[in-house]
Symmetry: C2
Subunit: 181 residues, 2 copies
């Protein structure tokens, strides 16, 4: 059975709206999309304090789902793929329980056996990795897919998927290439 | 740089004394070593309730170190190995913060980037895995070492290391086989 590692933040869990709200609280305005293309919001002038929020209990507890993520994961499972959620949680001690509960709540059909909290994703052995960070794909031993987020918009090194419909389209091609599943 | 994944419980963190104390609290006596050779304590008559303790906050917070673990890990790092702690924490939501703090306290020279909390260790890509469970070694893609614990005493399938001195002796041989490091 082929295995797919799926990143959490900005692939299934939508961090950006929360950061936009925080930016507005600090600065009295929302940044335009042009301002933060190619960057993380905390790299903008006025965004210096945003990253601190990641260390607080509760930050990851109530993130919205990325559109299409639940149905997309279910479709891949129906096609016979095994899904692992692989998140670089280890910088954020206070995120563990929030992330765990979030996964159980939104993806009840995936066992805790398939949750991985790590720091360096180069240690992950799966056939595919879907991630919004090029640096994770660069050290990955399998086939990497770059899930579009504003910060990675100028990356050209990896197969890009703009949304979950494009993830499924990619795997339709893989299924054809690998013969009938 | 070669990478070694090191399990926590019964390899660097000593769970057994705590279970023996709990068994005594429940049953008014300690089990003899013969009683629990080849078994987990919670598989003994009278041990049925022990496993529940793993789900409680604090269980993993104050475990003693396995003798030689700190010095052994340091020696392997000095020899040029990269160490990852890989623990099957995911069954136990309440263990995450305890295990994280325990690692930071006892192994301050190893970054959180090298801590992995997972369920199924077959997802781990390293050159070596030191673990007390044969089922983890069985699905591992690299070279597995079985670290002796009473429960695994009759396993014969893997290279056995009885203590940290034997871990270091094993890697001395590896170093020789791989040429001067």
């Amino acid at each position: 059975m082929k295995r797919i590692a799926v990143d959490m933040d900005e692939v299934v869990a939508d961090v950006l709206p929360k950061f936009l709200t925080l930016f507005e609280q600090f600065n009295g305005r929302r940044p335009s999309e042009e301002e933060h293309l190619g960057k993380k919001l905390y790299q903008l002038p006025g965004g210096e304090n945003l990253r601190q929020a990641l260390f607080e209990k509760g930050f990851f507890a109530d993130l919205q789902l990325i559109p299409g993520a639940q149905a997309g994961i279910q479709t891949l499972m129906d096609q016979g793929y095994e899904i692992f959620f692989v998140t670089a949680a280890q910088e954020f001690r206070n995120s563990f329980e929030d992330k765990y509960d979030w996964l159980l709540r939104h993806f009840p059909s995936i066992s805790w056996k398939n949750f991985v909290f790590c720091g360096d994703k180069s240690i992950i052995l799966t056939d595919y990795l879907i991630d919004d960070h090029a640096f994770n794909l660069r050290t990955f031993s399998g086939k990497g897919l770059l899930f579009t987020a504003p910060h990675n918009i100028s990356e050209t090194e990896f197969t890009r998927v703009n949304n979950w419909a494009e993830v499924l389209a990619f795997f339709e091609q893989e299924n054809l290439a690998n013969g009938a599943r």
